[in-house]
Each structure stands twice: as structure tokens, then as C-alpha cells.
Subunit: 392 residues, 2 copies
Amino acid sequence: MAIDFTLLRTDSDTHARLGRITTPHGEIPTPAFAPVGTQATVKALDPRDLHELGAELILGNTYHLYLRPGADVVAELGGLHSFMGWDGPILTDSGGFQVFSLAENRRVTDEGVEFRSHIDGSRHLFTPEMVIRTQEQLGADIVMVLDECAEPNDRAYNEQAMARTHAWAERCLRAQTRSDQALFGIVQGGIFADLRRQSAEFLSGLDFPGYAIGGLSVGESKEEMLATLDITTPLLPPEKPRYLMGVGAPEDLLEGAARGVDLFDCVLPTRLARNGALFTRNGRINIRNARYERDAAPIEPGCQCATCRSFSRAYLRHLFKARELLAPRLATIHNVHFLLELMRDIRAAIADGSFQTFKGEFLSAYPVIPHDVRVANREKRKSRVSNRESSS
Amino acid sequence: MAIDFTLLRTDSDTHARLGRITTPHGEIPTPAFAPVGTQATVKALDPRDLHELGAELILGNTYHLYLRPGADVVAELGGLHSFMGWDGPILTDSGGFQVFSLAENRRVTDEGVEFRSHIDGSRHLFTPEMVIRTQEQLGADIVMVLDECAEPNDRAYNEQAMARTHAWAERCLRAQTRSDQALFGIVQGGIFADLRRQSAEFLSGLDFPGYAIGGLSVGESKEEMLATLDITTPLLPPEKPRYLMGVGAPEDLLEGAARGVDLFDCVLPTRLARNGALFTRNGRINIRNARYERDAAPIEPGCQCATCRSFSRAYLRHLFKARELLAPRLATIHNVHFLLELMRDIRAAIADGSFQTFKGEFLSAYPVIPHDVRVANREKRKSRVSNRESSS
């Protein structure tokens, strides 16, 4: 068994779960948030930063690493852990979502998905067998099946994509040769309750060591996302970890945890940081704002991150205005710390039975703002759908 | 006395000196190389990186900080040390060189130099009094007089610029109000031995706590630079530190130290690093080269920098090819380490009497390549001269 999941406690007020995933590269206390290291680096951070931040799991993107530097190069350098110098747990996605959101000229068949690289236009084919082989070369602790991520509100497309996702899931299982990697299935079905049920039940029957909930935070409303979680997570085997892909806004982490999600990942904290948008418990601030020009306070008073312990808002604003390389680094440290600290608080609250209170207090202080990632993904989705139409 | 200079040993084979400068923010063992933190950050590094690299002195640029965020902002945040979180020694230049190399529409009079900002075109005037006041707001340990940096081979211009530099030096001394900052004079005179002699003698009479050698590495040949050093350093008071501005190629550090220079600064290691050009004892390599695609070795085997201890050439190449923010950071750490390690080796060699041997061995292994900074400065110089001609 590549991973072991221990369910330590289930919250009595919500469906929140406190747990622990044991992997070949260490333990992941859950619920956990994984910073995204798309190209074998969490942008602007090095592995020591990640250890100091207390990151328990990071994500790598198979699509990007397959294209550059190439999974064979990573394998020759000893695998992703060795290549990037990170000895903690890693999860790689299958590359499917990126093919649908980034690549050009996609053509999906039952065999797999053919596409052109967004880097150099070269032609490639991802099949279930091939993405398993690629992820085996990369060597992450948790790997994902190839799935087809459909427009969440398009029923006909979801029926078709779900059937394909299920067939691909079986092929991925058969293709797997490494016993030290845990392969997760991905539940699809858009916003349609009966399809989600069908998908959860079918995949549960395949006995994956963990389950992802895919196709969310990609264009549907927040209410639709939470309603889909409400019906999906109870259908998944409670003894397996559940991973909500691509979700990382603070309010979504709380809502997801409350619905029994154990793992999250998202580019939100790192992407926002590079734009100068910084998390505080009272909402996001943009550090480029003129009001911070002479502000000697840290980003968030009391924050224990390396940035807040050493630098003022005025200095950070200056670095952003002067376009200094140190700006994204210090901002990223703060934002990643903020989410990892939130996960630590969530776990502590589940452990002592105060999760619902903690969630209410956090959300009452934190003004929810439009979901940047969801909006960004909606844009990608639009281009994907138009591409799908033109290539099918 | 803001600083104290102790001359520990003078080499018997060369003019190299081993010494120690004591400042309000700590000791600088000499000869020393100062990484450049133009905009209150050594590009891509934070203060902890600098401490771990063993940086003994860093430089800040008055011209840049005056324009952005403003010396008053830095002062309000507690001065440059506090603003950027660096508690070690800092040197600020007067901004004069940047006015001549970066700013637009310069007009030099005996009063000072008027220019337009390269950032927003706003109009400013640097006078000797004003650059002292600005540097007092920034609060560095070592500060510089305003000087006029002339085309090194233009005799008439050098005579005029030198006379103005001398008058400005006297005004800077009179303008100084802080007793905790050491104000250095700057010897000018281009490549003309008699002018250098005049300048060194005049400024020595003003009893500055230290002396810079200006106007070099700005377009003259390497031979002219070394010949000018040969005649200038013996004319400076031996009990005061000598600072060769803007010089930092490995071979120039050795040649400068051999001629009795105690301090150097240069953007070379940090700028090269951002372009993927990395120092090794056998010359520079460009890490973007395809030959490093699968190279598991560190940049330089045996190097003890944080980058070489953790990452392969293959990984660094990947980061550069993928334009990741971690690339300039890891490369900068290596290049700054390389020069600081070279200075540690130079000091150890002077201490045990083996400097000339060390210098010969280093230079025989290190292929000298065209002086990037000199070439870059020559380009700037050309535009400056044309500007001078059009505005005078």
C-alpha cells in the first residue's frame, strides 16, 4: 500500500474530518492544503521555504513537466523529489485538466486526448496508459487518473465525459506498475446530482486508495459547487481520503472541510501574491495601494510568517512598485503561510470540537470576494468549449 | 569617528593589504566585495540570504532610493537598515554616477547637476549639500561625495570635472551633520597620471576617513584601468581605506587587491546571474546551454553555496528555460557566494603571505572574458556624452 489513511475524528456538528495520510515521503495531517509547484517549483519559493512554512504536501503538474523538461529528464535526475530538492510528499495531477485549459487544438477520443503544446505547438497524445507512465517517471506519492473535465452545466457533455472518465479510470488502474504510488480516482458529473452519484458509486467499486472531486471551481456558481460537494462526499468511502481539486480560497477551504474534504490544492495564494494581493483575516489587501507608502506595520499584525516578522507594508509596497524580484517571494511566503496556518487552525478546531464555531468566526471577519480562480477558469473554459466545438 | 580602519598586514610581494573597517553596524574585513542593493534589495535576495552568504557590506544607490520610494519615506521607516531589514554595514553612493548614466537631460553647473528622472521624467537637482542630506536620511555607514564622472580619455573634460569634484568635495564635508557616517572622497582625473596625482593630493589634504577611486571601469581599457590604479593608490594615505567603485570581475578583484584596494562593489555577479551566467573557478558557464539538460552535477563541484549544495545544473537550466522566479534567486546565491568566497580566499592568502601565488593560480585557471560591465558602461557613456553635448 503506497499510502495509509487514518481517520482520527469526525466532527459532530459538520462532516469535517481530522485525519492523517502516511506516504513514502512523510505524513500529511488532514485536512491539508497543497501549494502548487507547477514546473517543479512553487513559484518564487525553494524547498527550505516550504519546510519552514510547514507545507505537508505540494502538487506538481504532469502536463507542464511532461512538456518541459520532460518526464524522462526528471526520471534521469532521480524523480521529482530529487530533481526539485523536496523530500516531502508530492501529488501530481494527470495533466488532463491542463490539456483542456491550456493546450491548443484538443481532440478527445475514447483512446485519449490529442493536443498541441502551448509552448511550441508540438503535437502530443495523452492516453490513460501514457499519463500513468509519465507520473511513474515523475515519481510522486499520489498520482491521478486521466479524466475529461466537462463544462459543469452541460448535461449531455457531462454524461459523455463521465463515461469516458470511468473507462479511463479502469485503464489507469490496469496500467499502474509502481506499488509505491497511490492512484486516486476522480469523480465527475458536473452539477448533476444523479451523475455525481453514478460516478461516485462506479469509482468506489474500483477501490482506489483515494478519491478526487473533479470538475468544480471551473465556472459553476459557489452555491452549485457546495451543493455538489454536499451530495458527492457522503457517497465516497469514508475510510479513503477525499481531494477537492483546484480549490483554495479561504472560505472554500472552510466550506470544503465542513463537507468532509481532506485535501485541497490551488494556485490562488501564489498567483495572488505575485499580483500584490495579500491575505489577512480581515480580507485581502493590495499592497501596491498608496495608503501603505509609509506604513510601518507588517502585512498582518501578529502574523508569524518570515515576511511579517521582518518587513513592513511600506517596504513590500516599495518592492512591488520597483518591480523587484524579492516582492513576489516575500508576498508568496505570506500568502502560503496564511493558508497553511488556516489549515492548522481548522485541524485544531476539529480536534477540540470547536470547528463550527471557528468557521463562523473566521467567515464573519473575512469578507468573501469574487472567486478569482473560478473567474479565471471560466475564461479558460470558454476557450476550451469553443475549441472542443471546432475540433469535434 | 564613524568608522575605524585597522591595517593588519601589507603583502611583501604586492601592494595588497589585509585590514578591518569597524562601522556602527559591524566589522568589514578587507579587501571586501559589496553586493549591490540598488533599490534597497540585492536583487532576488533577502537579508537572511546575505547573512548566510557572509556579505560584510552592501551598497545602496542614492539616486534610485531618492526617486523611489523617496529618502523621506526611508527615513520615516527608520533608515535604510531598518527599511530593508539588513543590520550589517551599508554604503550609499552619492547618486552622481547614476545621474550621469541613467537620468535624462542632465545639465551640470558649479551648483550641481539638474536632471530628469528615468522613471517619470520629473525634474530634480542634485547638489553636494542635497546628496549629503539625502544620504543622511538613508543612514548608511559609509557615504560618498558628489562627483562628476568624466569620459576617461577626454583631458579637457577631466580637468574641468576634477576641479568641480574637488569643490563639491569641500562642500560635502561642510554639509555633513551626522557624526556616525563616514564620508569618502572620490579621486577623479580619468586616465591622466598628472590629474590623478593632483586629485589624490588635493583630497588627501581634506582628511576624509576613506577614499574612492572613481571614473574607472567606465570605458577605458583594462590596461588603462590598472595603470591608473598603479599610480593612484600609492598617493592615497595608507591609513585610510580605498574603494574602487563599480569593479567586480574576479580578475579585477585580484588585480585591484594587488594594487592596494580595500573595497569593491559591482552589479556584475547579480546581473550575470539573472542572465544564467554563472561563475566557476574555470570560467563562466551559461546554464541555459543544452549541454546541461541532464547534468546532475552542481554548478561547481565542491562549491559550498546553498544552490550547489541542493540543486543540479539540470534543475537550474530547467528553471531558466521555464522562466521561473526561483532561477534568478538560486543563480544569484551562487554568483555572490563565488565572489565573497574569492574575497575570503584573497584575505587568507594575504594573511599567510601566499597572495601572489594564489593570484597566479587563480588567474591561470580562470579565462578572462570581455568585461561585460565595462562594455555596458561604455554604452551608457556614449549616450551620456551625446546628452552632455546636446545640453551644454
